[in-house]
Amino acid sequence: MLEIKEIWKTFNAGTVNEKQALRGVSLTLKDGDFCTVIGGNGAGKSTMLNAVAGTFTVDSGSIIIDGVDVTHLPEHKRAKFIGRVFQDPMMGTAPTMQIEENLALAARRGQRRGLGWGITRTERADYRELLQDLSLGLEDRLTSKVGLLSGGQRQALTLLMASLRQPKLLLLDEHTAALDPKTAAKVLALSDKIVEENGLTTMMVTHNMKDAIAHGNRLIMMYDGKIVIDVSGEEKKKLTVPDLLALFSKVSGSDEADDKLLLS
């Protein structure tokens, strides 16, 4: 479903701030894979996700989604294949627009937007039902501005929007990091539910090792712009946080990195 081949990205090349964010990352996800991504700050997790989403173009290498080479497609054209939820709850929704208008925008992801109605009556009824399933009490607030919602509500709505038009690939970029623990757990459970119900191929970046182990069928750890650990299947199910830390110090060849990873 997703093929990342040897992608490299350097930011601020030739300046004192030069940063090799991605140094030859390769990764292949099968249809329906749910891959969690961990690593310290600056390891390249979000950069990899943004490279796939098209926030910037990579310096070299290629990205293929469902057989289509998207390496040189701009962000808005890749959106056809990709559903995204961001770390910042403000990023995923249009605050000055109504809940139902946001959903209607998402329902047209990747389609040509013409002079047809931005939202139809049947859509409104559908959205009410969908929101009822979320049980956030939003089904009676369809015409409320999204700016009035809490962070958790927005992330839940963004998740719903990302999956409204089935994406080939769902990218969750630390989407619970800005939420309180209780809300984070709720949003995470909802993510699981949506991924499972739709059989979505998913990449989820997280800072929480426990979450990374508990969710999905594959786990990768990044360090210094590379994928250093890649476990899946039975091996991943048996994984514990101490295992993961031991594995990491072996691969990275340093113990101090443990602290860096844990603290980040």
Binding site: A94, R113, G114, W117, L148
Partner: protein, 317 residues
């Protein structure tokens, strides 16, 4: 200070205010919907009138001359849009560049700094002479029909998929791209639409005052902003429907001209008007900021939850 002088001026205030109202609705599209301060309009506000007059003098029928003026504005918006999106120039600077370029273009179009157009010689749509007449060609009525039609069309447009993608771009460009919206395209489209309306307003103004002048757009952006802000301050709590918000902008423009007229009636020097306008707009922009920064609102414990929702709403409005 004879009050009748002021009363006598009121029909003119209404007509001129409504004409500038169309311009202000154009500013509303960029400033409020796209979240871009577009300074192109100072140039476009002369381009529309210049184009209209030259087309009329060349014997082009009135509807086509109006369309020509509109398209000239659309073109100006396109230039600013391309400066901004293709050349990566910040929007505000892109507008200033086009505005400056338009000064030369406007001179070229008219061949001189000023062009008169007389209703005795040509068929015109709005004419200052009939501003007090109770007939169908009273400019107040004619322009009011224009304003109503424009509001209706925009209300429809911003309800379509394309219009919604424009609103989304202004609200959150990151989200818009993630939803597959080409935000460069929507920005350019918004700038074109906005400047088209401004040029149309300019064409009507040129007819009303009987001439186009290369300086007629100087400070237009500030007048447009004044209309938008006056409309919001007065009707913000009342009007939530999108069509009504645009109506508020048009009324804001009329109120601006009312203030202008009162200032003249009070005997102030009209040369000072731009200074006064700038200060009024600055004050209206500053008040909401100061309010948010310094005001402590006392909320009864009982309705605290309600109030939270209320302030949230104001932030977004």
């Amino acid at each position: 200070m004879n009050i009748m002088h002021l009363v006598n001026a009121l029909p003119g205030v209404a007509a001129q205010g409504l004409i500038w109202g169309i311009m202000a609705i154009g500013v509303y599209i960029t400033y409020r919907i796209l979240d871009v301060a577009d300074l192109t309009v100072d140039g476009t506000m002369a381009t529309g009138g210049a184009t209209f007059i030259m087309l009329t003098m060349a014997g082009v029928p009135l509807p086509l001359a109006l369309l020509g003026a509109f398209l000239a504005g659309v073109l100006a918006g396109l230039v600013t849009g391309l400066f901004h999106t293709v050349c990566g120039i910040p929007a505000i600077l892109a507008g200033i560049l086009t505005q400056l370029a338009l000064y030369s273009v406007n001179l070229r179009v008219m061949g001189q700094a000023n062009r008169p157009v007389s209703s005795r010689q040509y068929e015109l749509l709005v004419d200052q002479q009939s501003v007090r007449s109770l007939s169908l060609d009273n400019p107040i009525l004619v322009v009011a029909v224009f304003v109503a039609a424009i509001i209706a069309l925009l209300y429809w447009f911003f309800g379509t998929e394309l219009g919604a993608s424009l609103r989304a771009t202004g609200s959150n460009p990151n989200m818009s791209r993630a939803q597959g919206i080409n935000t460069n395209f929507t920005k350019v489209l918004g700038l074109m639409l906005s400047n088209g309306l401004v040029a149309l307003s300019s064409a009507l103004l040129a007819q009303y005052q009987g001439f186009a002048d290369v300086n007629m757009g100087r400070g237009a952006i500030v007048i447009g902003l004044a209309a938008v802000i006056i409309g919001e301050v007065i009707f913000g709590k009342l009007f939530h429907n999108f069509a009504l918000k645009m109506l508020a902008v048009a009324i804001g423009a009329i109120l601006y001209y009312l203030v202008y007229q009162v200032v003249i009636w009070l005997g102030l020097n009209t040369d000072d008007m731009k200074l006064i306008t700038a200060l009024i707009v600055a004050a209206f922009l500053a008040i909401p900021y100061w309010k948010g920064k310094y005001a402590r609102v006392k909320v009864p414990a009982r309705s605290a939850a309600n109030a939270e929702v209320q302030t949230g709403g104001e932030q977004d409005a």
